[in-house]
């Protein structure tokens, strides 16, 4: 990996401070008291720190080592988002007549860009998956694209993968900066910058003072090689390799088999895994009205919900949790490969971590693969 720039940790803070003046910077923040980690608007974070009664260092820290509990998708695809307002207008002179006015969601004229700092490579990958869903096809999703268009992703490689990490299985890597605008690796007491996209050049060129001038690039590069090697050793594998080329076919074949009943037995059909997933994009649309005014909004939805496919007629194509889970895994490891050319799982492991009954998507996929091999033996 070729090192382009180097910035010390101390200077990173100043750099972010500077970036935040003109842009909206989001970064991973940990609440030490509650042990929760999440992406937060830097401005919001500073406010929290100010409000905190205890010393801020004790309660909140910027944290880029651990994965955030939620994936950062909500920055572009919020849990609840207004689509538009509507209003019925009554004519006092002529009460029979009711006019209707629709107000498109006002475009937020943000001066700067949205910058996500400290994104894991898998999360950047996740955002690139959402880009395909919302940006491909005849009709685009303006709400997502509007926010995404003006954004930059600053990704930091994972020196330490976790036991539930499996990005390498699904074709990623802890140092994959393909989807990032700026790619960084934590080395010594700072970050080596190994990728800069054209869009992000100004973030560095306008802030040259924070970047070290005299650096021994070869020494750092050697260091990075070592880090990459040790990281690769640590990554947990539950099985040797995922037959990525074939997985779609294997999944297809599994659909009629009873294997899914077995896999799903312990599942409680909740939405925890969906809502923490960086690539799940399903949503619900609802109207709500008070008096003559109302709003149409969308909110996250999850496919393990029995209401998800329930039609008004009472017909439900997926009434059973095993059918729903089958659809969920296939959506990631089959259908979206066909639709968008990629596995819609980036191996972040969040779903495994949050599952209260230890459902493990790796295990599910492995069971399907093993089942097929057994059948052919």
């Amino acid at each position: 990996m070729r090192v382009i720039e180097y910035i010390s940790k101390e200077n990173t803070k100043n750099w972010l401070e500077k970036l935040d003046a003109k842009n909206d910077v989001f970064l991973p923040v940990q609440d030490l008291q509650e042990a929760r980690i999440g992406f937060l608007d830097y401005k919001e974070f500073k406010k929290l720190v100010q409000q905190s009664k205890e010393s801020p260092e004790k309660r909140y820290v910027i944290n880029h080592r651990e994965k955030t509990a939620l994936s950062p998708k909500y920055i572009f695809f919020p849990e609840t988002e207004k689509l538009f307002d509507f209003e019925y207008l009554k004519d006092i002179e002529n009460p029979e007549k009711v006019e209707l006015r629709l107000g498109a969601a006002e475009k937020t004229e943000s001066s700067g860009r949205i910058i996500l700092f400290g994104l894991k490579p898998c999360d950047a990958e996740g955002i690139s998956r959402l880009d395909r869903v919302f940006g491909e096809g005849d009709k685009k999703d303006n709400y997502y694209m509007e926010k995404r268009k003006n954004s930059l992703l600053i990704s930091i490689g994972c020196n330490t993968p976790f036991p539930d990490c499996f990005c390498t299985l699904v074709g990623g890597s802890p140092f994959n900066f393909e989807n990032a605008d700026i790619g960084m690796v934590e080395v010594n007491d700072g970050y080596a910058i190994v990728k800069i996209s054209d869009d992000a050049k100004d973030l560095i060129s306008e802030n040259r003072e924070y970047f070290d001038k005299d650096i021994d690039k070869t020494a750092i590069e050697e260091e990075i090689e070592k880090i990459i090697k040790s990281s690769a050793e640590k990554i947990g594998h539950t099985w040797e390799d995922l037959p990525r080329e074939e997985i779609s076919k294997i999944m297809d074949e599994s659909i009629g088999s009873g294997i899914w009943d077995q896999i799903t037995k312990k599942c409680i059909s909740c939405g925890a895994c969906t809502y923490v997933c960086p690539t799940c994009y399903c949503f619900n649309i609802r109207d709500e009205q008070k008096g003559l005014q109302g709003q149409r909004y969308r909110s996250w939805d999850y496919c393990m919900n029995s209401y998800y496919t329930l039609e008004a007629s009472g017909h439900n194509p997926r009434p059973d949790k095993s059918l729903r889970y089958r659809n969920k895994v296939n959506c990631k490891y089959n259908y979206n490969i066909k639709r968008h050319g990629h596995i819609y799982c980036v191996g972040c492991g969040r779903c495994i971590e949050v599952c209260p009954v230890s459902m493990d998507i790796r295990e599910a996929v492995k069971t399907v693969i093993d089942n097929r091999q057994q059948a052919s033996d």
Partner: protein
């Protein structure tokens, strides 16, 4: 139209309401915006999303003739919250409309062939624009047959249309009801059974069916038994939909979304999808 908001409906006015059956009404709509109204065109089989603001949005097939520029017609069966709100509309009221969405019947590929339409209850709605198109262009198609089924004589949608079609020489019309009742001089029996007894020849014939899921299931079985090839059978499907543009995820059958890849599928296409569509 690059920056067009795909979720923002056009406002349309209800011009006329027709009560089809006790549970089904047809709404004739006119788009308010003149430019959009004049530009509007659709293909038979395409759908639209109708909103009653404050209640929600649901998908219905456009069932007026594609050549009809006066209005767009949708038929709605009362089932949930939004359909009830649509039923409660009066003429002159406003609704939201996002259309046309989805794919359509490949009517060009059907030229020079016999067509048999099999529609049950409100399942006749998706067939109506196609039937009207084909009747308007009768010279391009060979024999047209319609098998219309309903629970009782009162449950036939588009009764006046069926009557007109019956009288015209361009299409053979067979009507059947599920169980016998007085004053009914036509067929009695479930749609698939009647179809089986009709023994239509699969020779150079395309079958198009739509109706409740259970009817589609058995009708497809009968058609295969009669020797129809999978690519000569078409059906339209429904799923719960929200966005209508392939984003919200819920209307998938395998890797296909009913809202963008459908609602019209040939049986061949459906059988290629690993997830069962029934």
């Amino acid at each position: 139209m690059k920056d067009e908001n795909s979720y923002l409906p056009e406002i349309a006015t209800v011009k006329k309401i027709i009560k089809e059956t006790p549970a089904i009404v047809s709404l004739q709509l006119v788009i308010d915006d003149e430019e959009k109204r004049n530009d509007f065109s659709f293909e038979p089989g395409q759908v639209g999303q109708l909103s009653v603001f404050g209640f929600g949005e649901s998908t219905f097939v456009i069932n007026s003739s594609p050549s009809n520029k006066d209005h767009l017609q949708f038929s709605i069966m009362k089932a949930g919250v939004n359909t009830t709100a649509l039923h409660n509309l009066t003429e002159g009221e406003k609704v939201g409309l996002r259309a046309p969405l989805g794919n359509w019947f490949p009517y060009q590929k059907m030229e020079g062939k016999n067509i048999i339409f099999i529609g049950g209850g409100i399942g006749l709605a998706p067939l109506r624009p196609l039937i009207m198109y084909m009747l308007e262009n009768k010279d391009k198609y060979k024999d047209l047959t319609l098998l219309a089924a309903a629970k009782t004589p009162d449950d036939f949608c588009f009764a006046t249309d069926i009557e007109t079609w019956e009288k015209s020489k361009d299409m053979k019309v067979i009507m059947t009801i599920d169980t016998a009742c007085d004053m009914w001089g036509k067929e009695v029996g479930l749609c698939p059974n009647v179809l089986e007894s009709m023994k239509p020849s699969p020779e150079n014939t395309i079958a198009i069916t739509c109706g409740p899921p259970i009817m589609i299931k058995y009708t497809l079985e009968v058609l295969l038994k009669l020797g129809f090839a999978e690519d000569m059978i078409y059906t339209t499907l429904e799923r719960r939909m929200k966005c209508g543009i392939g984003k919200c995820g819920r209307c998938n059958i395998g890797d296909k979304f009913v809202c963008v890849d459908g609602p019209v599928f040939s049986l061949k296409e459906l059988n290629q999808i690993p997830e069962p569509f029934m």
